[in-house]
């Protein structure tokens, strides 16, 4: 049973527009949520994170929103750039233990 779900396998956005990637989770014991970005033939790279005591974290063009009551988080990328085209993974963990990943969403940004 998947604890971290990314229900949209793909998303296409035009350059300059906002990209919104969504993630749902089932385990209310998760304390940390992270987003990773992955290019083909490379390992995932860390993008941004948020702890469960916050509802928003911002880093440049990237903002993560957490709605604990809905067990939902989202990653906003504004403005989107062609170089943002990649697979984005949502991941979660408790106070200890490894990250649990979703299946990923492939973002395509067209110029």
């Amino acid at each position: 049973d998947q604890q971290v779900k990314q229900n949209s396998p793909s998303l296409s956005v035009q350059e300059g527009r906002i990209s919104i990637l969504n993630c749902d989770y089932t385990n209310s014991m998760f304390d940390y949520f992270l987003w990773y970005k992955k290019y083909p033939a490379e390992g995932p790279t860390f993008l941004i994170s948020i702890s469960s005591i916050k509802d928003k974290n911002e880093d440049g063009r990237f903002t993560v929103f957490l709605n604990k009551s809905a067990k939902h988080l989202s990653l906003h990328i504004v403005p989107s750039q062609p170089g943002d085209s990649a697979v984005y993974f949502c991941a979660a963990s408790g106070l200890v233990g490894a990250l649990i990943f979703g299946k990923g969403t492939t973002l395509s940004v067209s110029s």
């Binding site: 490379e42 390992g43 995932p44 993974f89 963990s93 233990g97 990943f101 979703g102």
Partner: protein, 115 residues
């Protein structure tokens, strides 16, 4: 910039053969992870080490997979015998912390194809 090193990058083998992957984490990172990523899926944890000790290997198919980190530095993941369903990307990651939302640093991965 320090990186997680993995080898080989690509491995093609026939089923029933043995295969091994090596990982050298970022210096000073006590926690090391092996993940497996099947095409179209997210990374799934196989094993987590804290120094030389196994913290979590609950998802490791122990009848054919083994992992070790003898001196608490580099690590080897072995599959014997390999099966067709083992075709995947094997990712190694390290972290200076043992969970708690700490960032994991991933290597480039080892792509295994079992024929």
């Amino acid at each position: 910039e320090a990186e997680v090193a993995q080898s080989p990058r690509y491995k093609i083998t026939e089923k029933s053969q043995a295969v091994a992957f090596w990982c050298d984490p970022i210096s000073g990172h006590a926690t090391l992870y092996w993940y497996r990523q099947i095409l179209g899926q997210g990374p799934e944890l196989l094993v987590q080490f804290q120094d030389e000790s196994v913290v979590d290997d609950s998802q490791l198919p122990k009848d054919r997979f083994s992992a070790e980190r003898l001196k608490g530095v580099d690590s080897t993941l072995k599959i014997q015998p390999a099966e067709l369903g083992d075709s995947a990307m094997y990712l190694c990651a390290s972290s200076p912390t043992s969970g708690g939302g700490g960032e994991l640093f991933f290597g480039e991965g080892s792509r295994l194809t079992v024929l």
